[in-house]
Symmetry: C2
Subunit: 546 residues, 2 copies
């Protein structure tokens, strides 16, 4: 079987998120509020036009470029400016700020679109031989600098390997509930192909509409329904990986005691160890029922205890998240409270809003709702009508709001972390406080929102959204804030990423997590699979000196 999407992968805005037509117009009341609350003084900046940007002259030697074109077919090897710019950087705020400022210096020299595993293998072999750096490119939605290798400058050029042509559903094993899928499929494409057979993966990260399956695996993505369906690294039971040294297949069984689990080396490998060319993914019957409830707690701490009770003793909802007081105020459209609420900033009158979602059979959803309600009430929760549906309707919209705010001179960015439950309070306070003091010191006091986005029996993730007036150099401004936040995460015992990944932005802190010997292990693995070091140089893997 080889079923393919009827619609091609959608085009992703090169200067922002998704479809530019979806970026909302901010009402005058909001922009005035921004001026008041954040002290935004800059006039809205116009968005750039594609033709205004000039990527640098291509550096790949003609011979190597010709050989690459031969592998994928001339029409699938493109070096035009528009294609190169559309493969430049990812979707972090610094990425967008750079492109909005006309900086296309990180553009790949060539973009190839292989159609098969064998084409990927041959592409990598040519890159290794010609010392051309190679960036595997899925949906292009990295928010941690995963698509602009900082060390690529020493190579004889940079190729982006766009996997969109590898978009088939190759197998569906209904007995084991496993689908073999190609990496270029976007979230909705994969869901449509599987939905026609009555199945879902159940993986819905905020980037769902544009991100690819290969990216989900390579970045250890976690979807909004992770409490019910699991993280993508739990769902991707098998991987086929093309590397400069050949092919690796991992994942022969649901679980095994046959040695270390090498699948776990490629999950989270972010294109630095190989290119994922097929995934065996656990699928689930499409749920008959979906129901999302809002629950309001007196404050974030109380709500966190309620979520922990469900995560540890059940029933486990499919979706489970909790906004702090500041984010709740925004969600409930009480922006007047934003200034005094939130991470490290005290409570808000609106309390803390949780979203508790259930998917499954009608009977199971009904039963779990009743049981979970009892637990949530015990922990001080009260139903908040319509908040669940409101969340579900807007669940993929956040990035568009960022585009609108960037237009108006507001710096907005997110970061996330994860820790064991006993460290969560300290982590929440430390990250909020670090961000607040750094941005206040720079004269741009921020609004900081936070939510618990994913829960486990042993801990949970925290997802922060930061907004402040953009300074003259907003990239430097954010890098400084991000650095103190990352230091705070490590010091408070958190991991530098729960689901965004490492990329280049987190590499130094990831090195601290790994320790010198752990980093040495990763470098040894890389040297075995990619001896020349052409795959995403400078992404993920800490250098010996870091």
């Amino acid at each position: 079987m080889a079923e393919r999407p009827t619609e091609p992968a959608p085009l992703l805005s090169w200067w922002g998120w998704g479809d530019p037509a979806e970026v909302p117009e901010l009402p005058e009341a909001v922009t005035e509020l921004l001026r008041g609350a954040l002290g935004v003084t800059r006039a809205p900046a116009p968005r750039p036009a594609l033709a205004e940007l000039s990527p640098p002259p291509p550096r790949i030697a003609d011979g190597a470029a010709a050989r690459l074109a031969e592998v994928v077919g001339a029409e699938h090897a493109r070096a035009d400016a528009a294609t190169r710019i559309r493969h430049t950087r990812g979707k972090s705020t610094p990425d967008l700020l750079a492109l909005r400022a006309g900086d296309a210096s990180a553009a790949p020299d060539l973009v190839v679109f292989p159609a098969t595993h064998d084409e990927v293998l041959r592409t990598l072999a040519i890159c290794a031989e010609a010392r051309v750096a190679a960036v595997p490119f899925g949906g292009g939605t990295s928010v941690v600098g995963g698509l602009a290798p900082p060390d690529a400058g020493v190579y004889a050029g940079l190729v982006a390997i766009d996997l969109r042509r590898m978009d088939a559903l190759l197998e569906l094993d209904e007995v084991s509930r496993l689908a073999v899928l190609e990496p270029g499929l976007r979230g909705p494409q994969a869901e449509a192909l599987l939905g026609a057979h009555g199945y879902t993966i159940g993986h819905f990260p905020q980037s769902f509409e544009y991100a690819s399956l290969g990216g989900f695996a390579a970045a250890r993505s976690s979807g909004q329904a992770s409490a019910g369906y699991g993280r993508f690294d739990e769902l991707a039971l098998g991987l086929r990986v093309a590397t400069p040294a050949g092919t690796v297949n991992v994942g022969r069984a649901p679980r095994s005691a046959a040695g270390p689990d090498l699948r776990q080396l490629f999950l989270g490998s972010e294109g630095a160890l190989g290119v994922i060319t097929a995934l065996t993914v656990q699928v689930h019957p499409s749920p008959a029922q979906r129901s999302y409830e809002g629950w309001r707690f007196p404050d974030f701490a109380t709500g966190t205890a309620g979520l922990r009770a469900l995560a540890q003793d059940g029933p486990r909802p499919t979706v489970l998240r909790l906004s702090d007081e500041a984010e709740t105020a925004l969600n409930l459209a009480r922006p007047s409270e934003l200034g005094r609420a939130g991470a490290g900033g005290g409570g808000g009158a609106g309390g803390a809003l949780a979203i508790v979602g259930f998917e499954g059979s009608v009977a199971r959803v009904a039963r779990d709702q009743v049981e979970a309600s009892a637990v949530l009430r015990e922990h001080g929760g009260a139903p908040e009508p319509e908040a669940g549906d409101h969340w579900a309707g807007d669940r993929f919209r956040g990035p568009y709001l960022r585009d609108a705010l960037l237009d108006h001179g507001v710096l907005v960015e997110t970061l996330e972390t994860v820790a064991f439950w006993s460290k969560l309070d300290g982590l929440y306070a430390a990250v909020g406080s670090a961000l607040r003091s750094e941005l206040e010191r720079r004269g741009t006091p921020p609004v900081i929102l936070c939510h618990v986005s994913h829960v486990y029996p042993a801990g949970a993730s925290l997802y922060f959204t930061v907004g402040c007036a953009a300074a003259a150099d907003p990239i430097a401004q954010w890098r400084a804030a991000k650095a103190v936040a990352s230091d705070a995460i490590i010091a408070a015992g958190g991991s530098i990423s729960h689901h965004h990944g490492v990329g280049s932005d987190h590499r130094a802190w990831y090195g601290e997590e790994l320790g010198a010997l752990g980093a040495g292990v990763l470098r040894a693995v890389k040297a075995e699979l990619d001896p020349v070091g052409v795959l995403n140089p400078g992404i993920l893997i800490p250098g010996p000196a870091e």
Copy 2:
């Protein structure tokens, strides 16, 4: 905190399992049946006496031995024959046959008992410097040749690093439900320490009474209650590992997207990559209720479908296993049916017996029992009174029966595998058929029993027990049978081990699973952590030529 067991770790029989006093006397009716059904003709062999065995002369240079004794203290470095023999090999049937035959050639030259992480680090550094092979030794219960490194002969001696003195509960985080435990703790010791605080790990493999926590992690153990509590590799969220190259700490959070999961390299590393010196383990409140039910299905295939329904759609019991017709006949004491039932041998009138266990709160157990009963009845199951309690009472007794049968000239051994559901029928038939034809060809037709021992949404494990008359060279007889079974496992798409591990016995087939490049990755990791290659040489990691 550093709470330690009040009782020392129990002594494990060096020629068999556990406490020799527990080995049952076989009734005359059974031994006669063995003669009839299996054609056993050999007279019962006497068990050997410890004093009859002579380990080879110690090979470690005096200087290195003295330095090792200095690290751990002279009283904790022992080279007497009894100590050496008690650290010789593991508990596979070939291991026991060798020791029963007086073969102590695999004995370590020295046994050290370090008390701290630092002592382990220093021990490994001395071993690397002196080129002395080192075997980390937990409970000594390996059944895959994990404790007698076949390649140790080229080294300047062999040291067993017995971790029994590292037996503390170091921390208990009741908010995150995490315990930090030392690796030398035996299963019951850890349960007693945690039980005093109201917690359980919930990990009860058949080796539970003697195996150690470090071994559970190093061999990716899976307990009988894995459906409810998870496998040990899911429970061990953090590890501290001592290697010849230094210390690695893995597991900072319940889950993370910070790169590849290096924890998964040390889980299943079987002492070949380092010595686990502390574990952070997920614990659960001690269940208020435990209930084990028996369910009888018309046949193994029907029962398997019932288990799959529970594994995929719930409710998920805590314990879930299913014997095939032959094993059911034995469990229900209908040995007359043994000859004609079982793997590849057709059905038995007793059907297929499942054990379905529930642990948790009284209310949850009651509810899940009702719901699971409905699913099991839908799949043709009917309650089998008392079978659940019978199973629970005997759950750790299997290995003693093997000792009694070995006494009587019966070769008994087990092997296990795991695959996706869609491959399970073929795997079951192929392994049974391979074992049967090889042992029939050798003139010792076997009885083959099998059960599904662990279930997952995507697949399940199969656990085979094989019995036949012991030939003149029973080790060669079993190696031949095991080889064809292992070939059949790989050919049928199974993994070479679900929970026993790789050791030296499975290494060649593990190499087939890994592929050349995967094996190269493992060797690269090993070279980074253990550059001299002193850790368990010849265990786990396939050589370049294999």
